[in-house]
Symmetry: C2
Subunit: 480 residues, 2 copies
């Protein structure tokens, strides 16, 4: 019964419909006097130059404060904090052979928090230019706060992650978004972060690494490669969209208009929302996914090999574990070492959309990945982490279709980075592809057409849409 650290008050959740209207206004504001777009690139470039941030691959033997446990072989920090590389044994009804693989274990729920504030009557969001060791380009646009559970305890002991206290119950705070969402379930075991947007009503002094941007500005920046980081995309995808289309903003019209319309709650869907979730329920109930945490050393009996500087599968595989030494000037500790997961190839994440009875729908797929908390979540139409030939049993459905789409049908195409605090140079190509009649409305089991408004409604709850699909929802917002 003791009060929770970071506990949320009863009355400070904002009305969701009002929030949706204010979000729309911010999205329509493509530039702002607070941080003019012409200054953003210069600010990022100058900040990047000023902050030398090097991540250098090192052998495991050069790790400091991290070590392989003599008993289990797990790779852990000496404090037990941050995360660990452990083993995960899985099997399923489709693949009954037990397989053991390394997996990132980080059982506590972290916080991805963005502060919002009105300037000139328009919501702005406080973004941070934040370097991460695994980023290909040093820093990217990150949420105001990325905090672990232990950072919350520190707030109560006087030390503090900047602005974290603003996400804790206090006068003048309004919660606009609050949902616990998953992260890459083929790399993480049961990983979740709390995604929050909290509005404040007073200005605050921010370090030069922070800037207030409108949603319209952030969405424009999302069209660039490797700039808006994964956590920002995840949080922004959860912002509510309006239920009622404004007058004149109906279906029909060009692609941008159709896309904008699909995000409204009143866009006529092919299926009721519970018929959409029914598709996922089917997979969650009928796919049998057995998961067991095991010592990492058991992976070495299943084809994984540890060398001086990597843990990788003898047949190549999709990722490897490595270590880096990081030298930074702007962190509390000037230099540290840590393990990272390095994917062996660039992935492809594609969302096919088409008009069905005049309303744009997206084709989503129920995916069961090894580390899923609840068997399965919806992912994009195509989620492919490696060359088709390695996926076993031929290329995934619709891969050929999206790769063969005419250039004018590819409505979004950018290479974006995944979380640079855990992954080394992990980049995926994200595509939104507009399909026509040639893509049948009938689809295989496990696939479902849904409006973007329906998918946004599901984002009010956790564990419906995986992080790749959340990114594509954010990308779709950048297309109109």
């Amino acid at each position: 019964m003791r009060p929770e650290p970071g506990s949320v008050a009863e009355a400070d959740y904002a009305d969701r419909r009002q929030t949706a209207e204010r979000v729309r206004r911010s999205a329509e504001t493509l530039d702002s006097r607070v941080t003019p777009m012409v200054e953003v690139t210069g600010w990022l470039a100058a900040y990047r130059r000023a902050h030398h941030f090097h991540a250098r691959p090192i052998p495991f033997g050069a790790l400091r404060r991290w070590a392989f446990d003599p008993g289990t072989g797990d790779l852990r920090h000496e404090t037990g904090r941050f995360f660990a590389i452990e083993g995960l044994r899985t099997s399923s009804d489709l693949d009954p052979v037990d397989r053991v693989q390394p997996i990132i274990a980080q059982p506590e729920v972290g916080l991805l928090g963005i502060l919002a504030r009105e300037f000139d009557g328009v919501l702005h969001f406080l973004m941070q230019a934040k370097p991460e060791p695994g980023n290909v380009n040093g820093l990217q646009l990150s949420p105001t706060v990325q905090a672990t559970r232990s950072n919350f305890d520190e707030v109560h002991h006087g030390r503090s992650t900047p602005f974290l206290d603003r996400f804790i119950q206090r006068p003048g705070r309004r919660v606009l978004v609050d949902a616990i969402q998953s992260e890459q379930a083929d790399w993480f075991l049961h990983k979740r972060n709390r995604n929050m947007v909290v509005e404040i009503d007073s200005d605050l002094a921010a370090h030069d690494s922070f800037r207030w941007l409108t949603l319209g500005q952030i969405r424009r920046l999302l069209r660039r490669d490797d700039l808006v980081n994964m956590d920002t995309r995840s949080v922004l995808a959860c912002l509510p969209t309006a239920h009622d289309a404004p007058d004149g903003d109906g279906a029909g019209g060009d692609f941008a208009a159709a896309l904008r319309h699909s995000f409204y709650g009143d866009a006529e869907p092919l299926h009721d929302l519970h018929a959409v979730t029914g598709c996922l329920t089917d997979v969650q109930a009928l796919r049998v996914l057995r998961q067991q945490s095991v010592p990492l050393r058991q992976a070495y009996e299943d084809g994984w090999q540890r060398t001086e500087d990597t843990i990788r599968h003898r047949d190549g595989g999709r990722f490897e574990i490595m270590a880096v030494e990081v030298t930074a000037e702007q962190r509390e500790v000037a230099s540290w070492t840590q393990p990272l997961l390095r994917p062996c190839s660039q992935g492809l994440m594609a969302l096919a959309v088409r008009r069905i009875k005049g309303v744009l729908h997206a084709l989503v797929a129920a995916r069961s990945d090894v580390g899923a908390l609840n068997v399965a979540e919806f992912g994009p139409t195509v989620q492919s982490r490696s060359a088709p030939s390695r996926d076993g049993g031929g290329p995934p459905p619709y891969l050929e279709y999206v790769l063969g789409a005419a250039p004018d049908r590819v409505r979004y195409d950018a290479v974006l980075s995944e979380e640079g605090g855990r992954f080394y140079h992990a980049r995926n190509r994200y595509l939104v592809v507009e399909a026509g009649q040639e893509l049948p409305v009938d689809c295989p089991p496990g696939f479902r057409w849904a409006t973007l408004g329906q998918l946004t409604e599901l984002l009010a709850h956790g564990n419906y849409l995986n992080v790749e699909l959340r990114t594509l929802i954010a990308c779709a917002h950048a297309c109109y």
Copy 2:
């Protein structure tokens, strides 16, 4: 990409609003020519007499086909099917000491399915008089189907649980309810069942153990002790309620009217739905619950003791593991043995409700139990499995209040059984208590007031309301 066994078709989910209206009509139909109420008691009594079903406690050594694994000490069936008694090691931020306890592991998602059909324009539900070894009184009113994942595979191989095939995609089927819900998280690890109501449009020949009843009839029967089983209560609680109150059915009026009104979607709530879920999100994000499956023998190092016929904690504890021999005439196998979990005392589950701004609200509590899939779910105002003095740290909040309520404020009071296939004589007293101004609207962290319509809306999703709260939702429906 192969089709799922039991896969649900695209188009056969019924419109939720229409369903709600039809559910209301069935609830208002308190008797039916199909199965007149006067015949129900006689049918149950005759059926109970005709079917001798004995469950006799036996020593573990007399178990057939079940054995303790020599390595882990886990208690398993020789086929690996059904369920197992394993060990679970847990700790949390509130109780950082590692504790190991026995837990029931049954990782696959089962099906609790009720068939519905219209007679005379009114939905009837096909209930089964089903004996279970742990029931205090032999048989209880059960769903049409209680099936495991392996039963689904059997449908495809010609053998079959009666009516299970009706839950699989076929012409004329309409899905009214479909959600995966949890079960007792202090006794089960991550246990979930798919709760379904499926409507069919043709009559079917049913064994004498089945009867079609209206929802009004079932709710009347729910006022009796130990009659409507846990699975039925869970499924029926998930039925949608109407959004709009019919004319004249507003707030105010007597308790029954206020209760009925609270179930409508348009009853004015104290908090937005996302402020309600925010309370749970808070606990899910901030409570750290560490869970690790371990060999059952590790429980013996933590105070648990195995005798010839029980596994129990040396200090008494809340439950023990035992074994029974079951003799039945109506099962495929005439006699079998199995382990069961026996709670050491009757529990108390109470839901406090009161009018806030004229609308009846229920007080729910975010609970984190050791076997929870996602840290916490909402439970009743009071969920107490043992005498207050054993709960550690004094009685739970509101226990004294509900036990001290004046008799005319206790709107529902019955002793109901928990699942007799896993638990031996597990009974809880369920109370719905109407509170007045003396129960403050302000409540401690982790507690939240919600309308019954909001709680019903959450039941369209899994893992929001635990099984005890779902039972109380069903009980509340029986109070108006």
